[in-house]
C-alpha cells in the first residue's frame, strides 16, 4: 500500500495557515476590482452604444481566450515596460501581489461581465417599466428593483467564480508570490517530494472550510434577495 501519514496533515496545517492571509487578500481585492470592471462591461453590453458594446464584447472575447498564465506574464513583463517606456513610471519594484491582483481582476471581470449580463437580461422588462413609470430614474430602477432580483440569478455563478479564484494560487506561484497553495508546494519540496498527498489533503481541508463559509454567506444573501420570488418549485 501507499505510504500515508495522517498525522502529517495536522502537522502541516499550522505551517500553511499563515499564508491564508495572502490568498484571502489576493482573492478579495481581485474580486472587488474584477466585479467593478465586470459591472462596467456588462453595462456597456446591455445599454451601451455600438462602440462601447463592441469594446466590451472584444474585451470579454480576448480575455477569455487567453490562458491565465500568459496573461500573468503579459502584465508582469508587459505592464512595467509599457509604463516605463510610455510614461517613465518605474513599477518594477512593485510587490508581485499587485501583478497577480491585476491579472486576476482582468480575468474575473470578463467572466463577471457575462454573469451580470445574463442575470440582468433574465429580469422581466416590465419590472423596469413599472419603476420608471412611477418616476424613478433608470439608475434608481436598476438599483432598487432590477439589481436585487438579478442578484439572485447572479449569485450562484458569482460564487462559482469566486471559489475558483480562491484556488488559483498556483498561478500566483508562477511569479513567486507565495499564497497558501504555494506554501503547500514549498513544504512538499522541502520534504524532497514526500508527503504531497498529506499536504494536499491539508490544503483541501482548509479550502473546504473556507468554501463552506463562502457558500453559506452567499446562500444567505441569495435567500435575502429571493424574497417575493416564486420559481419552478415542485408543482
Amino acid at each position: 500500500m501507499r505510504p500515508f501519514k495522517p498525522s502529517f496533515i495536522l502537522e502541516v496545517i499550522p505551517l500553511l495557515l499563515p499564508f491564508l492571509g495572502v490568498t484571502i487578500a489576493v482573492t478579495l481585492s481581485s474580486v472587488a476590482f474584477g466585479s467593478l470592471l465586470g459591472l462596467v462591461l456588462a453595462r456597456a453590453k446591455v445599454r451601451g452604444n455600438k462602440i462601447s458594446k463592441l469594446l466590451a464584447d472584444g474585451y470579454t472575447w480576448i480575455l477569455r481566450c487567453s490562458p491565465s498564465i500568459v496573461l500573468l506574464f503579459m502584465t508582469y513583463y508587459g505592464l512595467p515596460k509599457m509604463l516605463k517606456d510610455g510614461f517613465g513610471i518605474n513599477i518594477n519594484g512593485q510587490s508581485k501581489g499587485v501583478f497577480v491582483v491585476i491579472t486576476f481582476s482582468l480575468i474575473f471581470a470578463a467572466t463577471m461581465s457575462e454573469v451580470m449580463r445574463s442575470a440582468y437580461e433574465s429580469i422581466d422588462k416590465g419590472q423596469t417599466e413599472a419603476a420608471v413609470s412611477i418616476g424613478m430614474s433608470p439608475f434608481q430602477a436598476f438599483y432598487r428593483i432590477v439589481l436585487p432580483q438579478a442578484a439572485v440569478v447572479a449569485i450562484p455563478n458569482f460564487t462559482n467564480s469566486l471559489i475558483g479564484l480562491l484556488k488559483e494560487g498556483s498561478l500566483a506561484y508562477t511569479i513567486g508570490l507565495i499564497d497558501i497553495m504555494g506554501k503547500g508546494t514549498l513544504v512538499i519540496s522541502r520534504n524532497y517530494g514526500a508527503y504531497a498527498l498529506e499536504t494536499y489533503i491539508a490544503l483541501g481541508i482548509i479550502f473546504w472550510c473556507l468554501t463552506i463559509v463562502i457558500e453559506k454567506v452567499f446562500l444567505l444573501l441569495e435567500l435575502h434577495f429571493d424574497k417575493g420570488r416564486k420559481q419552478v418549485l415542485s408543482v
Binding site: 501507499r2 472575447w61 490562458p67 437580461e121 422588462k125 440569478v153 483541501g204 463552506i212
Partner: protein, 239 residues
C-alpha cells in the same frame, strides 16, 4: 531578446495536435456533466430530501478542494486500490493499461458537474413558476415540461454562464498533463523544455487558445442568439 520563429512554427504545428485532445476532454466532460449537473440542480430546487443534501455537499466538496488533490486521488490512488482489489480477488485485469485520458474525463467531469449544477440552479430559477404550471396542466409530464418549456427558457440566461464554464474547462485541460495527457499547453511545454523556448511556447499557446476559444465563443453566441430570437427577452432597454 529574439524570438526563435522556426521553433514557433514547428511548435505551432505540433501543439495543434493537442487541439483534438483538448476538445475531446471538453466535449466528453460536458456530455457527462450536463445530465448529472441538471439533476443536482433539480434536486436542490425541488428540495428533494436526501438528494438535496448530497448535492450540496458534493458541490461544496468538489469546488472546495484543489484539483491536484482530486487528480492524486483519482489517477494515482484509485487504480492502485483497484489493482490490489483485483489481485486479491484473483482477477487478471490490467488496470494500469487504461488510457489516462479516462481519468482526465473523470476529474474534469467531477468539477464541471459541480460548477454547472450551480449554473443550472440559478438559470432554472429565472423561469416563472406559471410556465411549469401551464405545461403540467396542458398534460405534459414533468420531464416533458422541463425539456420543452422550462429548459429552453432557462438556457437563455444559462448559456453565457455555460460558456464561461466551458472556456474555463478548455483552458483547465492543461492540468491533465499531470496524468500524462498532453493537450495544447503540455505539448508546447515539452517542446520548450529542451531549448528553454518558453516565451515562444507561450506565444504559440496563446495563439492556439485564441483560435480554439474564439470558435467556441462564436458557437455559444450563435446558440444564444437562436434562443433569444425565439424567446421572451427583448434586448431593448427602457431608459
Amino acid at each position: 531578446m529574439t524570438l526563435d520563429l522556426e521553433f514557433m512554427m514547428r511548435t505551432f504545428l505540433l501543439a495543434s495536435a493537442g487541439i483534438p485532445v483538448t476538445l475531446m476532454i471538453t466535449v466528453v466532460t460536458l456530455l457527462l456533466s450536463f445530465p448529472a449537473a441538471f439533476f443536482m440542480a433539480i434536486s436542490r430546487i425541488h428540495r428533494i430530501k436526501g438528494l438535496k443534501v448530497i448535492s450540496s455537499v458534493y458541490v461544496s466538496l468538489i469546488r472546495g478542494t484543489p484539483m491536484v488533490l482530486q487528480i492524486l486521488l483519482v489517477y494515482s490512488l484509485l487504480p492502485s486500490l483497484l489493482n490490489s482489489l483485483f489481485k486479491s480477488a484473483g482477477l487478471d485485469i490490467d488496470i494500469f493499461g487504461i488510457n489516462p485520458i479516462v481519468y482526465a474525463y473523470a476529474v474534469f467531469t467531477f468539477n464541471t458537474t459541480a460548477s454547472l449544477s450551480e449554473v443550472f440552479r440559478s438559470a432554472l430559477q429565472t423561469v416563472d413558476i406559471g410556465q411549469m404550471e401551464a405545461a403540467l396542466s396542458t398534460g405534459l409530464s414533468s420531464f416533458q415540461s422541463y425539456r420543452r418549456i422550462i429548459i429552453p427558457q432557462a438556457l437563455v440566461s444559462a448559456i453565457p454562464n455555460i460558456c464561461n464554464v466551458t472556456i474555463n474547462l478548455i483552458k483547465g485541460t492543461s492540468l491533465a498533463f499531470i496524468m500524462t495527457v498532453k493537450d495544447i499547453t503540455a505539448i508546447a511545454k515539452v517542446e520548450a523544455a529542451y531549448g528553454y523556448n518558453y516565451i515562444e511556447a507561450y506565444i504559440v499557446v496563446f495563439l492556439l487558445y485564441i483560435i480554439v476559444c474564439s470558435a467556441v465563443q462564436q458557437l455559444f453566441k450563435l446558440i444564444e442568439n437562436s434562443f433569444n430570437v425565439n424567446s421572451h427577452i427583448p434586448a431593448k432597454e427602457v431608459g
